[in-house]
Each structure stands twice: as structure tokens, then as C-alpha cells.
């Protein structure tokens, strides 16, 4: 018995010894934003390039606006279940008046919380329901990332041209591979714009797409990339959030066009360029709306011109000569509105040019087409809602699997 008392006492001693005053920071930040408290709900943590992109932008925005870290709460690894609703409620309890969530599957749970807390603004990236829910405090946002994919596609096309010119491949062997997460419009819009960008400089290009059925599955993504390389793809890009595909490319020595941010440090020999959404402009816009008591629109989207879409620096070691100059020119044209990425002159569906397409903008379980999206000779992407709606299967792109 004595031994236990001694043990418990020594435990208490250890606790007492390690005890020392911990100073909490008293940084109040800028007075202008003193009433703002922000919460960010992330599906994964910084290991995921997708979530990292949101987290970095949030930190940068708060730093710029002078919002101290004590009033910026980031919760990570929140699954797309009731846990998201609980996380949102908890952020409200902590006094947050703006709450962001970064994953598509968070949407319904955020709406559930938004109905319960009308005084708190809920903002959701990639979602589709804000314009039909009609809640004053629930909003969707996205970016015209198809512009970024298109510009990145141009870099890929130039690389293919270089391979053709050097005799490494014949023009008809210019096959690109694409690792996609789901057969969802966001992914389809992404790979189609990437393909169209490549095709704008390398007319003979074709593409194979392999889906993984997950936004983040390192093994699956790696295997998908390896499968595409085996199937003869000479350049890979991806829309999935792990390092699986880029590292598979680095190992195999196949050029890679990345997403969500530069992967040059892990793939110094194969990384060409990466497109990403910069969420800082939207964060800043929404925070200012709350500060000034202004209404946030149900849908918000912006592109290169507003700084919402960015391309990383080109890696000269892997990219074709002159890539940076060409990309700069393309971005200037996109900003000026001289290029319409989804111009119906540049693609065909089943061998035919399209002059009409009804898309399912107001999502429902039966996928009812409800909105005409082809007008003035191009597909109006991200105009009727912020989330992408382009889900056409255009010629030149082959889907290796599609049950995801």
C-alpha cells in the first residue's frame, strides 16, 4: 500500500515540476477587424495539397488583414459526416462569425448549421446548393480554375511538341494521362480544359483518364499514374490531392503537370508547372463583407484577372524551352477575355460541334437538365453557379474507367 502512496506522490511531484507559467499571447491585431473571428473546417490536414492550399491562404489573408491567430481557428480532419455539423456548431460556440468549409461533402452539414445559426455566415468552397437553398447566410464559392488548367495544358502541349520535334515520339503517340478523383463535373471540367490547352499548341494530342474514386488516396493515385504510364502516356497530370501521382512520375521519369501547388521540391526532374486556386481573394472579400455588413452573394467565382487562379513558376529543368513566355501570353489573353476556354470551335462531342447543351445546374437526384449553358459560341462555365458544370465527354479523351 505504501508503495502506491509513494508512487502517487511522485506523480504529483512530476506534474508540479513540469508546471511553469505559460504566457498566452495578447496580440489584438488591427482594430478594423476586431469583431471578426474566423473558423475553417478542413477535410484533411496539411499533408493533403488541397487542404494545405486552403490553410495557407487563410493564414496569409489573416496576416494581411491584421487578424491575430487567436481569432482564426482551423480544425482539420473533419469527415463529411455529422462530425462536420458538430465542428461548425463548436466554431459558433467559440464565437466565430464567419465559418468556411473546404470539402464538397461538407455542404449539407454546413447548411444544417446555417439554418440553426442565422447570424453566422457560412461559406462553402466547391458546393452547388447555395443558389437553390435561398439561405441569407449560406454561400458557395469557387474559382475559374479551368483557366489555370488551360494555361497549364499549354505547358504540357509545348512539352509534347518538344518530344515530337526531338523524335522521341511520333505526333500520334502524343498521349497524355490524367488521374481523376470522381466522374464529377469539377474533375471533368478540369481535365477537359487541360486537354484543350494542350491541344491548342499540339493538335495531335489525345488523353486517357483513370479515376480513383477518392479525393485523397495516395496508393490509388500512384497506381493510377503507373497504369497510365504503362498504357503509353508520355505526360501525366492529376486532379486528386495526394502526392501519389507526382511521385510516381518522378520515379518513372515522366513529366508531370501538377495541381494545388508546386510539387517541384519532391519532383525536381519531372515537375513542369502547377495551377492552383488562390482562396485569399475570396476570403478577403467575404471577411470585408461581414465587417461592412454587406451581403455576400450566393455564388462567387473569379479567375486569373482577380488573382483567384494562379500558376506556379515553371520548372525549366522539365519544361520545354520558352514555356514561361508562352504561358504569360496565354494568361494575358485569358485576362483580356480573348480566349474562351470552352469555345465550341475547339471541341466536338461524338464528332459533332455543339450548339446547345442543357446542364443540371440546380442539382437534383434525377440529374434533370435545367439550364442552357452554350451561348455565343462557348460553354458558360461557372456562371450559373460557382461550381463547375461542364460534364461533357469530348472527343480525344478516353475514359479508362468510369464507375466512380
Amino acid at each position: 500500500m505504501k508503495k502506491f502512496v509513494v508512487m502517487l506522490l511522485s506523480l504529483a511531484m512530476v506534474l508540479a515540476l513540469t508546471a511553469c507559467a505559460s504566457g498566452k499571447k495578447g496580440d489584438e491585431g488591427s482594430a478594423e477587424y476586431k469583431d471578426i473571428k474566423i473558423g475553417l473546417i478542413c477535410l484533411h490536414n496539411e499533408q493533403s495539397t488541397y487542404d494545405l492550399n486552403f490553410i495557407n491562404a487563410m493564414k496569409e489573408t489573416c496576416k494581411t488583414l491584421g487578424i491575430p491567430e487567436s481569432r482564426m481557428i482551423i480544425v482539420t480532419n473533419i469527415p463529411e459526416s455529422n462530425a462536420c455539423y458538430e465542428a461548425a456548431k463548436d466554431l459558433v460556440d467559440r464565437g466565430c462569425n464567419i465559418i468556411f468549409a473546404d470539402s464538397f461533402g461538407h455542404e449539407d452539414f454546413l447548411i444544417q448549421a446555417a439554418k440553426e445559426f442565422p447570424k453566422v455566415q457560412f461559406l462553402h468552397a466547391t458546393g452547388t446548393k447555395a443558389h437553390t437553398e435561398g439561405l441569407a447566410n449560406y454561400h458557395n464559392a469557387f474559382a475559374s480554375i479551368y483557366e489555370g488548367r488551360y494555361a497549364a495544358g499549354v505547358a504540357a502541349g509545348l512539352k509534347l511538341n518538344e518530344m515530337i520535334e526531338s523524335g522521341k515520339i511520333t505526333p500520334e503517340k502524343a498521349v497524355m494521362g490524367y488521374v481523376g478523383a470522381y466522374t464529377y463535373a469539377e474533375v471533368i471540367s478540369g481535365y477537359t480544359s487541360f486537354y484543350l490547352g494542350a491541344k491548342s499548341v499540339c493538335p495531335s494530342v489525345t488523353m486517357k483518364v483513370q479515376f480513383t474514386g477518392s479525393w485523397y488516396d495516395e496508393t490509388e493515385e500512384k497506381e493510377a499514374a503507373q497504369k497510365l504510364i504503362k498504357a503509353g502516356c508520355v505526360l501525366i497530370s492529376q486532379h486528386a490531392d495526394s502526392m501519389g501521382a507526382p511521385t510516381a512520375c518522378e520515379t518513372a521519369g515522366v513529366p508531370n503537370v501538377s495541381y494545388n501547388g508546386s510539387t517541384v521540391s519532391a519532383c525536381p526532374n519531372t515537375f513542369i508547372v502547377s495551377s492552383r486556386i488562390n482562396w485569399a481573394p475570396y476570403y478577403t472579400f467575404a471577411i470585408n463583407c461581414v465587417k461592412d455588413g454587406k451581403t455576400i452573394p450566393a455564388d462567387w467565382s473569379a479567375g486569373f484577372a482577380e488573382g483567384s487562379v494562379e500558376l506556379s513558376a515553371v520548372n525549366d529543368k522539365a519544361a520545354a524551352a520558352g514555356t514561361q513566355d508562352k504561358i504569360n501570353a496565354v494568361i494575358a489573353d485569358l485576362k483580356a477575355g480573348k480566349i474562351n476556354v470552352f469555345s465550341t470551335d475547339t471541341f466536338t462531342v461524338d464528332g459533332k460541334k455543339l450548339d446547345s447543351y442543357m446542364a443540371d445546374i440546380d442539382s437534383d437526384a434525377d440529374y434533370t437538365p435545367d439550364t442552357e449553358v452554350i451561348k455565343d459560341g462557348y460553354f458558360h462555365e461557372s456562371e450559373f453557379r460557382s461550381a463547375p458544370a461542364f460534364d461533357l465527354k469530348i472527343d480525344g479523351i478516353e475514359l479508362l474507367n468510369s464507375k466512380f
Partner: protein, 369 residues
């Protein structure tokens, strides 16, 4: 002289282990409580090294993260209830030494069954009836998923551990398939909250969220405890677990006990699946169970297959999870921190069993001749 001494000396190691016979229960309990305390000391030292907080801050943050607001308390008890429900569900099989590690799949397939009733029947029947149908479907699905390996074990003596494990993967794939079929918008891989306007098939507990979930699990835990300890069938389970030959000798039909017990285990997993879908998530994803089917195995073991003790461990693990999450949120640490912290405590709890069953005897000072 010196060499002579060396030759005569029997080499005795610095210490050796001796099996302890029955340690008094209160002493064993004290050791177990002390082991949890030691676990918390590890947590404090570790957290101090990583984030530089003092132990008082760490403990108060963990308490705050679990109990700080009414929402956190409800969430904590709801998490505890679901984990406990699955833990109790695997226990009858474990008592029979049937190593069922398929709770994850059994629960997931029940989630799918409950969600499909919600989706396909929806508002066509009154809500109480719909809830009953969902419960029935979930229980049936869980029982079927569990009884398949049991039949193979009973008749062909297949390895139940591998079989139940494989059934988990099958359940995940089947669920993924239906999530794909039902996803809105097309191809997004998300079913979304089902019946969000009509709330058909939702367990609504009025102003107390999850109250019904928690009550149902409490009743189920006590019932299982009585069934296992005070019923003939519970006794049969224990006998089969001790020795199949003995069971056969005293006239127990081992095949029937195996199949019946796994039906019960699966059905209870089905209850957990029903509570997850109707009581909390209102949707189905491939990750609906989120690994709790595996954590439950640990809870069942830590609780020595006693549902009442298991409720303490389910609570402890939920508390550690939520408390550690609060620390990671405030410090921006990687969420692996939560796993490490939980690991410390479990390590100490399991490690202390060693000291309950063995004593360490140190070498005595050599007697002078």
C-alpha cells in the same frame, strides 16, 4: 581465492520475474488507476516537449475540449455511445473466442441498409414506421454479414479472423457502389444528407440532441450484460469459449451456439449502424463507421469483455480523442498528436496488466559467507 568464489557462485540475474497468484482486487484496481495516471504523465511530458504548455493547461484544455460547452458534452456522449454500442456488439463473439474483427463491415452494411430505406421509402410511410423498418433492415443486414463467416466456421472450421476481415472490404465496396449510384450531383461521390427537408427517418430527440441514441445504447449495454452473465445462453457462450470439447461433452450444440452468437453480434452492430445513420449522419459514405469497428475491439478487450467496464473505456477513448483534438486545434499541431496521446494511455493500461500478473524480484545482496 577469487576464482574459487566465482566458481561456486550460482549466477543470479539482476532481477527475475515471478508469476503472481491472485492479487487482491482492490490492489489490482489501484494499479490500473495508477497506470492511467502514468499515461497522463506521459501525455503531459510529451505535450510539454512539443508545445511547451504546462500540465495544468494541457489537462484543462482537454477537459474544456470535451466538456466546455453543452454541444461538446452531447457530442462526447454520442461518440461514447456509438463506440460502446459496437464494442458491446463484438463482445458475445469474443467471449466465445470467436475473433470477429468484422464489426466495421457489419456496421457499415447496416448503415447502408438504413440509409437505403430512408432514401427509397422516404415519406411514403409515417416516420415511426419508417424508423422501425430502418432498424429492422439494419439489424438484418448486420446479422447476415456476421452469420456468413459463422456458418463457414461452424461447418468447415474456416479462419473467422480472415473471413470477417475480408467481409469488411466487401462491405466498403458495396457501399461505394451505392454511393456512386445515388450521388448528387452526378459523379460527385456524395449522397448528401437524405430527407433534409422532411426529416423522414431521422431520430429527433427534441431539444436534447442524441438523447435517444444514448438511452438506447445504455439499455442495450445492460441487457447484453445480463444476457452474458445471467442467462443460460450466455453461459453456453462461455463454455464454448473455454473448450469446445467440454461444451460438446455436456451436450451443447457448438455449431448452433456459434451461429446464434454471431447473429446476435451482427444484429447489435446493425443497431449501431442504425443509430449512426438515423441518429447522427443522415447520409451514407464509405467511411460512415470511421474505424470505430476496430477501436471497438480494443475497448472490448480493455473492458475484459464486460459491457459495464467497457462503458468506462469507451468514454475514456472518446474523451482522449476530443481532448487531444482541442489541443491540436489550438496549437495547429498535426492531428496525429491525438493518436499519440491515446496511444500513451492505452500502452500504460495494457502494460500494467503485466505488473498485476507478475512480480519483479530483484537480486538480493550477496550474503557474506
Amino acid at each position: 581465492m577469487a576464482s574459487e568464489l566465482k566458481a561456486n557462485k550460482v549466477h543470479e540475474p539482476l532481477f527475475h520475474l515471478a508469476k503472481r497468484d491472485n492479487m487482491p482486487r482492490h490492489k489490482a484496481l489501484l494499479i490500473r488507476i495508477a497506470s492511467i495516471a502514468v499515461g497522463f504523465v506521459f501525455i503531459c511530458v510529451f505535450a510539454f516537449l512539443i508545445v511547451g504548455w504546462n500540465p495544468a493547461d494541457i489537462l484543462s484544455t482537454m477537459l474544456d475540449g470535451s466538456f466546455g460547452t453543452p454541444n461538446r458534452r452531447w457530442d462526447l456522449f454520442e461518440k461514447t455511445a456509438i463506440l460502446l454500442c459496437i464494442s458491446v456488439a463484438v463482445t458475445p463473439a469474443f467471449r466465445m473466442r470467436f475473433w470477429n474483427i468484422g464489426a466495421e463491415g457489419q456496421t457499415l452494411i447496416s448503415c447502408l441498409a438504413a440509409a437505403s430505406c430512408m432514401k427509397l421509402i422516404g415519406t411514403r410511410v409515417p416516420n415511426p414506421l419508417l424508423l422501425l423498418i430502418m432498424l429492422g433492415a439494419a439489424v438484418l443486414a448486420g446479422a447476415i454479414w456476421a452469420v456468413i463467416p459463422a456458418i463457414f466456421k461452424a461447418f468447415w472450421n474456416t479462419n473467422e479472423t480472415l473471413f470477417t476481415l475480408m467481409m469488411n472490404y466487401v462491405a466498403t465496396q458495396v457501399t461505394s457502389y451505392f454511393v456512386y449510384i445515388w450521388s448528387v450531383p452526378r459523379g460527385s461521390g456524395h449522397v448528401g444528407v437524405i430527407n433534409s427537408d422532411s426529416r423522414a427517418g431521422w431520430i429527433v430527440s427534441g431539444q436534447y440532441p442524441y438523447l435517444l441514441n444514448i438511452l438506447i445504447v445504455i439499455v442495450m449495454t445492460i441487457t447484453t450484460y445480463i444476457y452474458l452473465n445471467y442467462c443460460k445462453q450466455g453461459y453456453e457462450i462461455s463454455v464454448v469459449g473455454e473448450s469446445e470439447n467440454t461444451a460438446r461433452y455436456i451436450g451443447i450444440n457448438v455449431k448452433i451456439v456459434i451461429i446464434r452468437t454471431m447473429l446476435i453480434s451482427g444484429a447489435l452492430c446493425g443497431l449501431a449502424g442504425f443509430l449512426i445513420v438515423a441518429g447522427a449522419d443522415h447520409t451514407i459514405i464509405a467511411n460512415s463507421v470511421g474505424g470505430q469497428g476496430f477501436t471497438a475491439i480494443m475497448v472490448s478487450w480493455l473492458g475484459k469483455f464486460n459491457p459495464l467496464i467497457m462503458s468506462f473505456f469507451a468514454f475514456l477513448l472518446s474523451f482522449l480523442g476530443k481532448g487531444a483534438k482541442e489541443i491540436t486545434t489550438l496549437t495547429g499541431l498535426d492531428s496525429a498528436f491525438a493518436d499519440i496521446i491515446t496511444g500513451f494511455v492505452i500502452f500504460c493500461i495494457i502494460g500494467c496488466e503485466f505488473f498485476i500478473h507478475y512480480s519483479i524480484r530483484f537480486r538480493r545482496k550477496e550474503d557474506k559467507a
